[in-house]
Point group: C2
Chain length 300, copies 2
C-alpha cells in the first residue's frame, strides 16, 4: 500500500491533465451542514472553466436530487439535478434495474428524499415521515398488521426513527417471501450540524440488521452500484475520473473500488492523523486541506 501524496503544484497539474470528470461528495467537502466550505464555489467554477465535468455523489438520502439542487442554489452554486447522484436516487435505480414488480410496494425507513425518488421512478412507497408519530402497543390481544405486498424495505438516515417503523420493516423482511432489504448507505455518523457529528444511516441500518439478522444490499458509497450510471452518462473510463471526498471508508473506498483517482479533503470527518494512523489501510492518491487548495494551485 503506497501512502498518499499531499496535493502540490506538480501533481495537481498531472491530475488536471489526466482527469475529465470530478466526482464530489458534498457534506464535509462542499458544505458542512448549511455552511458552504470556504472557496468551494470558486473551485467548482474553476474546474468547469477548464472543461471538467462535475458530479455530486452523496450518501445522504434525506433529500431528493431536486431538493439537493435547491440546497446548492441556496448556497449560491448552480447545479443541475442531473449532476446529482444521491443514495435516495440510487435506491430507486436499484429497484429499477432489478425489475422490481410495480405491483409490489416499498416500505421506507428514512426521509422524503427516498419516497420522492421512488415515486419518480414509478414505485408505490410508504412509511418514512408518515410513520413518524406512530406508536406500538404490546397489548396481548393486539396484532401488528403489515402489508404482505411489500417487496422491499429501504433504510436510510431517519431522525424520526421509532419502534413502530422498526417493527414494520422487520415484519416485512422476516415474513414477506423474497422481500429485499436495501440500505442507502452505512455511514456511522455525519455532520448534520456544522459543529457536531450525529448518528448516520449506519445506525438505522444496523438496527434493522439486529432485528432481522439479515444483511442489506448497500447502494450508496462505497458500493459501486452508482458507477454504472455515471459510466453510461459520461461515456468515460473510470481512470479519467477523480473522486473527491472527506471519508476514507466511503468516498475514497468508493473511488478505489471503481478504479478512479482519489483525493481526500481534510475539511470533513477525517484528520491528517486519521489518514496517517497505522490502523488506517485506505490511502487516497492525494490529499488536501480543502477543495479550494485546487483553486490556489491553479493560480500558482
Amino acid at each position: 500500500m503506497s501512502s498518499s501524496q499531499s496535493l502540490q503544484p506538480h501533481n495537481f497539474k498531472d491530475l488536471l491533465d489526466s482527469v475529465e470528470a470530478f466526482l464530489f461528495d458534498c457534506d464535509g467537502v462542499i458544505w458542512k451542514g448549511d455552511e458552504l466550505i470556504d472557496g468551494a464555489s470558486q473551485t467548482l467554477d474553476m474546474l468547469r472553466s477548464k472543461g471538467k465535468k462535475l458530479v455530486f455523489v452523496t450518501n445522504n438520502s434525506w433529500k431528493s436530487r431536486t431538493q439537493y439542487a435547491e440546497k446548492f442554489k441556496s448556497l449560491g452554486i448552480s447545479v443541475s439535478p442531473d449532476e446529482i447522484f444521491s443514495s435516495s436516487f440510487a435506491a430507486a435505480m436499484y429497484l429499477k434495474v432489478n425489475n422490481f414488480p410495480s405491483q409490489n410496494k416499498v416500505y421506507v425507513i428514512g426521509g422524503d428524499g427516498i419516497l420522492d425518488e421512488l415515486q419518480l421512478a414509478g414505485f408505490t412507497a410508504f412509511g418514512g415521515p408518515g410513520d413518524a408519530d406512530k406508536t406500538i402497543d404490546w397489548k396481548q390481544s393486539g396484532f401488528f398488521e403489515h402489508d404482505k405486498s411489500v417487496g422491499a424495505v429501504v433504510v436510510g438516515i431517519d431522525p424520526k426513527i421509532n419502534y413502530y417503523k422498526l417493527q414494520y420493516g422487520t415484519l416485512c423482511i422476516r415474513e414477506n417471501p423474497g422481500c429485499l432489504f436495501i440500505a442507502t448507505n452505512r455511514d456511522a455518523v455525519g455532520h448534520m450540524t456544522a459543529s457536531q457529528e450525529w448518528p448516520g444511516a449506519g445506525c438505522m441500518v444496523a438496527a434493522m440488521c439486529g432485528s432481522t439478522q439479515k444483511e442489506p444490499v448497500v447502494v450508496g458509497k462505497p458500493s459501486t452500484f452508482m458507477m454504472d450510471f455515471l459510466l453510461e452518462k459520461f461515456n468515460l473510463s473510470c481512470s479519467k475520473m477523480c473522486m473527491v471526498g472527506d471519508r476514507l471508508d466511503t468516498d475514497i473506498l468508493f473511488g478505489q473500488n471503481a478504479g478512479c483517482k482519489t483525493l481526500l479533503v481534510l475539511s470533513g470527518c477525517t484528520t491528517q492523523s486519521d489518514l496517517q494512523d497505522p490502523s488506517n489501510n485506505i490511502q487516497p492518491d492525494y490529499y488536501a486541506t480543502k477543495v479550494s487548495d485546487m483553486l490556489d494551485l491553479s493560480r500558482a
Copy 2:
C-alpha cells in the same frame, strides 16, 4: 456434535437424579407475553417438591427483579426476587464487580427495570423512559449537550427508542474517555405479545454499534457473566444445574458455555425443524415440547 435427545421416561429420571438446580428462561418457557404456558406452574411445584432449587434467568431487561416477582404473582406463581436473575440486574452487577466509580453516571437506553436495578446498586442513572419524548433539532447554530461524567451506557430493549437517545448514548461512548458500552442482551426478537415476535434488545444494541463502531460487553445470556452469581449463591457445580430455555443462541448456548445440562422447550421461538436443521450447530442435551412434559414424565 451429538444430536439432542427427546425427553423420555428413562433420560428424565437420569436428569432429575443428576441435577440439583433448574435454571429457567421465562418468555416462551413459563409464559408467552402475559399468558402462562399450560402446566408451567404445576411443573415448578413438582420440581420444588422434589427438593430442586429454581432460578429464573431472563434476558428481558424491561423489568426489575421486583417487577418480575410481581409478574409471576399475577400469573399465580410464587417466586422470590432472589430467585430472579434478569439482565437489568446483571447490568448493575457488572458495574459493581468492576468497581464503577460512584461519582460517574450511567446513561440508559431501555426501561425502568434497568434504572431501578442501577439505583438499587447505588449508581446514578438517567435516560430511559425520561427521554422518551425528547426530540432533536439539526439547526446549524444548535449544539447537543451531553454529560461528560457519564462513564457507562447501558442498552436494553426500548420500545420508545428515538434519535435523541441514540445521539446521547453515541456522544457518551465516542467522546467520554473510557466510557463503557454495556448491552443487557442481543436477542434479535422476542414474544412481546403472545401471537407475534417484535424487535428485541439486539435491535437497539446494533443501532448503537452502528453509530459508535464499537462492540458492547454483553451481560445477559449467552454471556456467562451471571453464572458467577449463581455459583456463589448455590454453591453448586455447573454440572449439577440444568438450563431450560426456548432459544438456542441464548439459553442453550448460555447453559453450554457454563457447563450445565441443557433442555430446549419448543413452546417459544424454536421449532423442532429449527433444532434439526443442518444449519443449526447448537444442540441441547434434551428437548421437550414444553416444561410440563417434565410433569407428565414425573407421573409416568
